[in-house]
Amino acid sequence: MTSPAPSGAAVPVLRAEGLVKTYVMGDNEVRALRGVTVSVGRGEFIAVRGPSGSGKSTFMNIMGCLDRPTSGRYLLNGIDVSSLDRDALARIRNREIGFVFQGFNLLPRTTALENVEVPLIYGPLPRGERDARALDALSKVGLADRAGHFPTQLSGGQQQRVAIARALVTRPTLVLADEPTGNLDSRTALEIMALLQQLNRDEGLTVVVVTHEPDIAQFMSRALVFKDGHLVSDTPNPAPQDAARELAALPAEEVWT
């Protein structure tokens, strides 16, 4: 399934060419991806959808440099990373990619600030500048005043915002979010979507979100749908909904933050 990059994306951040991923499980071969070609431009906000087993998770793992394709090429910022070794992939994850997970995946018994600093530990930033950078990222998600809190002292939405700050702190070109609202109630989910939209708009961040909820997908400017290891649909959404406005339209309720 091939589709041209939509207009407005001059330099592709991601470019997948004929991606194939085959797992061997015992005697069976599982063909998770069967030739996926797609481009994502800078500043796009993309929804990746599909039923479980469709290959979207495998696609995301390869996009996130957590995994390597069996064949095909994957170019990140124009550089072929599909054949790099483990250490080189770790370096790219550190510098170019931010991850947001469904289960937040914050380190327990570690403060919000220290959680945000974790990627910096493995990066080039000198130790003395890490606190300031992490605090800056925390204030972008509106949690500068919770820097000293532990994850157990934060609500789900706040934890996810700490996780987003952690994804932003190295100033990556790409943020990959895997079901970022899956563990949240609908109001908090809207808050997270509003935050991602704002970061996409204001910081020019390229964001790719895996979601199975059509409600969530309507906030993105483009939807990729996977099925049986193929990219079956690539649809631009010319008028994505504004999560912040929807949030404002909700009846007043006790707000967590």
Partner: protein
């Protein structure tokens, strides 16, 4: 990732489970304490053997009547044999050019009484030269003289322990004590020598003129042993040769027959003591090594558990850019830290045990900085060696699997 941060992370991981960390360390603590205490006892023993051998006096040769331990005869023979005479001793002093002084001696023992105090102690009967050869001067009063020996005078020179027990703080000089119910006048008190390598108190003794002991206590002219000093350390061997040929001649021993006496010098005492203490140290060290090994396995076990428990943390760290070697070093620093902390406790415990032993058992001990460094080095090595496998297991995790781990 720098070391300071690694240490901070390691400290935090351990502080999360202090009891577990302590129990894990215990093996290393015991191992290191055993190493430190063993070395302290060994070194203390060696130092005191050397001091004791030196306290024998310099260039000292000991001569025993009898056939000696090497020729199959029993050592008990030395006391009962009467093959040595006072004339032999005089001849040695006179005719052997390498010999400086000769002091024949007999050994006895008995109860000493002064006032209401009594004390069971050893008695050495000897001559005036004994004090010179043993380099053992008096602290108070004088030694007895050769004329006291000729006259079998009832005079006594006391060791410091005997004085303490009979006189307390009173000045014993000129007082009369009874030894085996015979009155003796105290003429001198010896300076304190302290305990020997074997733990015996050298100051728990009374020195009397040899002839007095022979006549009054032993009713025998036999000599138990002879202290001889060579003129210099380099002349010890020639002195031994001269004495041997003189005594063989005087005792009319034909060529091919065994000597009826045997000679020991400081070097032989030193090497015998050294060999004993080496064997002891080796034995205890192997126990310590086994304990360290067990401690290391304990560390490996807990680190494996810890790696499993923290699979998700490993996954998160890898996802945000930690390389395998970052994870490896994090876990290695943690196990080395655990082991070094155990080592530190072990050093403290080992020093404590050494102090306790030297106080309770009156064994001399000496904790040297090199033994502490050795113990630390060992525990660091144990931590790194046994931490490597779990750390590598952590570093080789697949980030996707690790992130999915529940």
């Amino acid at each position: 990732m720098d070391l300071g941060l690694s240490l901070k992370l390691a400290w935090r991981a351990l502080a999360r489970n202090p009891l577990r960390a302590l129990l894990t360390m215990l093996g290393v603590v015991i191992g290191v304490a055993a190493v430190v205490a063993t070395l302290a006892i060994g070194q203390g023993a060696r130092a005191s053997v050397q001091a004791q051998i030196a306290s024998l006096g310099s260039n000292v040769i000991l001569l025993f009547p009898g056939t000696g331990p090497g020729s199959g005869g029993s050592r008990g023979a030395q006391g009962s044999s009467s093959s040595m005479t006072i004339e032999d001793c005089a001849a040695m002093a006179r005719e052997c050019p390498s010999v400086d002084k000769v002091a024949w001696s007999v050994r006895s023992g008995g109860q000493a009484i002064y006032g209401n105090n009594n004390w069971q102690t050893g008695v050495i009967g000897t001559t005036e030269d004994f004090f010179t050869i043993r380099e053992w001067p008096v602290e108070l009063g004088t030694t007895f003289t050769d004329s006291d020996v000729r006259n079998s005078a009832r005079v006594a020179v006391l060791g410091a322990t005997v004085v303490e027990n009979l006189f307390g703080t009173e000045n014993p000089i000129g007082q009369t004590i009874r030894i085996r119910n015979l009155p003796f006048r105290v003429v001198g008190v010896l300076v304190r020598k302290g305990s020997s390598a074997m733990g015996t108190d050298q100051d728990d003794t009374i020195i009397l003129p040899g002839t007095t002991v022979q006549k009054k206590f032993l009713s025998s002219n036999a000599i138990n042993f002879v202290y001889i000093s060579a003129k210099s350390a380099g002349e010890i061997n020639s002195a031994i040769e001269e004495i041997t040929s003189l005594l063989r001649q005087r005792h009319k021993i034909r060529a091919g027959q065994d000597d009826d006496f045997f000679i020991r010098n400081q070097a032989e005492f030193a090497s015998a003591a050294e060999a004993t203490s080496k064997t002891m140290t080796l034995l205890l060290s192997s126990i310590a090594a086994v304990s360290l090994l067990v401690g290391g396995i304990g560390i490996m076990n807990i680190m494996l558990v810890s790696v499993t428990e923290r699979t998700r943390e490993i996954g998160i760290r890898m996802a945000v850019g930690a390389r395998g070697r970052d994870i490896l070093s994090q876990f290695l620093v943690e196990s080395a830290f655990l082991s070094l902390l155990g080592g530190a406790f072990g050093v403290l415990l080992g020093v404590g045990i050494s102090v306790l032993i030297s106080n309770l058992a009156k064994w001399p001990t000496s904790v040297s900085p090199s033994s502490i460094a050795l113990a630390f080095g060992f525990s660091a090595a144990v931590g790194i060696f046994f931490g490597f496998y779990p750390a590598r297991k952590a570093a080789n995790q697949d980030p996707i699997e690790a992130l999915r781990y529940e």
